[in-house]
Symmetry: C2
Subunit: 352 residues, 2 copies
């Protein structure tokens, strides 16, 4: 697969993506070009990016600080400021070169600058390739709540080039594996088995993983129903991620690390409350656990995590709603779960 296309966006892979980038930067369709990077992608990716662009390409570089803690309105103000100072108009293009934090934030800035300018995402981490690359979610964190402020707006184009992954270490690769595993679990059983069969063979599975997400969001762009299944592992995972980030004496987790824990917890709930077989719960647990360090949660940690999960965007009328598996490759959504089962799930994770 070298190309996924819908009426509102295109995703190109590898060689095809390189050709598109060359084309995009050699035509003067846009009145001006801006490239958003963070400290990391400026250091590790910008040179490679430039080598792939047309020789005639000129742009203004916007740099923000790296990390989830800068995915906030102040960074947006910084981006809007530089666009404004350089007279970006409605025919300007913003190219987001970075991980999910950067593409989410850059997408939001572009979607709201003069009520919307085009943007192109070039994800540079495995996580952002398989997760943030499609789906039209843009946003920033607010008051400790992830992606609390944002809009649905598709990138004009997403270019997935796995050569950017060469600068990543194993922890960052595993960070992205969580979403690939999730795509298999909720929608594509063979994909799940392929991913866990050989964890080093992930490159050739990226396009398939993006395609799963593409299928789901195309069926339900605004999260009226089916799209919610992408939230598997995220109801508790997001809350865990937020909690660990906010607590001073806790180690901050990567998104995939928190989602990995969330998937084990929610697989347990799926076994208890939905139709997931115990055998499959064990397989899921065994596949995810070795990828990430075990985290110890005390009773007071869990209490705070539950409180945070109440803020999940998918909730209705103050009740926490879950996506649970019916089996590997099949999920159901909008399932209410009692607090006691959640405590039991944490207990399972802790002891396994």
């Amino acid at each position: 697969m070298d190309h996924i296309s819908s009426s509102s966006y295109d995703v190109y892979f590898e060689h095809q993506a390189q050709l598109e980038l060359k084309k995009l930067t050699s035509h003067n369709y846009y009145s001006s070009y801006f490239v958003l990077v963070d400290e990391n992608t400026k250091q590790y990716c910008l040179e490679q990016f430039e080598a792939l662009t047309s020789t005639s390409f000129s742009y203004i570089c916007i740099e923000i600080s790296s990390g989830e803690e800068y995915k906030n309105i102040d960074s947006c103000k910084q981006v809007w400021h530089i666009l404004t100072e350089n007279n970006a108009d409605r025919k300007s293009l913003l190219i987001n070169l970075g991980g999910g934090v950067l593409t989410d934030l850059g997408g939001f800035c572009a979607a709201t600058y003069k009520r919307g300018i085009d943007f192109v995402n070039i994800p540079t981490t495995l996580l952002s390739m398989v997760d943030a690359a499609v789906g039209g979610k843009t946003g920033i964190d607010f008051q400790g709540l992830k992606n609390h402020i944002g809009v649905f707006c598709n990138a004009r184009m997403t270019l997935v080039m796995s050569s950017f992954l060469e600068t990543l270490d194993q922890r960052q690769i595993n960070n992205g594996m969580a979403e690939m595993i999730k795509h298999g679990l909720i929608y594509d059983e063979p994909h799940f088995y392929e991913v866990i069969k050989d964890l080093n063979a992930f490159r050739k599975l990226i396009a398939r993983s993006v395609y799963v997400k593409h299928r789901v969001v195309t069926e339900d762009p605004k999260e009226g129903g089916l799209r919610k299944i992408l939230n598997f592992g995220h109801t508790l995972g997001h809350a865990i991620e937020t909690y660990m980030m906010e607590e001073r004496n806790k180690e901050t987790l990567f998104h995939g690390e928190a989602i990995g824990i969330g998937m084990i917890l929610e697989a347990y709930l799926s076994f208890k409350l939905n139709k997931l077989l115990e055998r499959d719960l064990k397989l899921i647990t065994k596949s995810i656990l070795p990828l990430y360090d075990k985290v110890i949660f005390k009773a007071e940690d869990i209490k705070e995590i539950l409180k945070l999960s109440l803020h999940d965007k998918k909730n209705k009328k103050g009740k926490v709603m879950f996506v649970l598996l019916e089996g590997i490759g099949k999920a159901s959504y909008d399932i209410e779960v009692e607090k006691d089962f959640i405590l039991e799930a944490f207990d399972y994770y802790q002891k396994v």
Copy 2:
């Protein structure tokens, strides 16, 4: 006319609007209700609003400061904060009760909160009834630039009830008249003549004026072409408004007052560069001039205003683009104007 309907929004007028408000607040379709007011609408409109709602209606009031200078990201943070603290979820509704500043800002907050919750606009000024009520533009000012940050997002419903106008003074009514006159000038010749015939009869012309805007934005929701004609008087008008607001020793103008001047200037340009007859230029000038205090612009004022107009969202590649009249009721757009003609237009306005 008691109702304008499109696939994405509804506008109800007068008695019909009252019925819809009662219905909206008596059903429990939404998980929670928030009403956004500013100091003024809290004092002058909230009681009347409450009297029109269902007796079972309960809501959380969000108050922001009145005035264009608070149409900024800090006020948004305040609104998002209160929504968050009160656990507003995706099924919550925000009702914006106020003028254009408030409906623009409230619309933007709703459109971006958890990637979008429903909002209803209840305009309380003539300006917001005929201008901000339809069209899906939301936004805030940024770095002194009007509506620089925002998104296109339609209110679920707009309720126009002219009883709210009873608390307005003549200056505020005249503020709204500018947009009604504009609607006639760009699209609806008979409407223009009706509006200027008896300036006290505006109430019965509100729905017609909204309908003009509705027709234009329905044909071109994202401002690809035709919609630009709504910008007549605004290229220079916006810049004048911004300049007068930012200069400490200048009196701040109402939006309609700045647009009134902008329309005279741009009618002059239409006479010089498009097909507008001198007779019609004189009629337009004579109709608008008595509504607003004359403003004296010095050479350095004009220089700054021209610089600001370069930031207009409708510009392309650094050139200032104008909407000019071909006659009363007909406009053309994307017309480049040399600086000298603009100086001449200011000269005309000054001496007339």
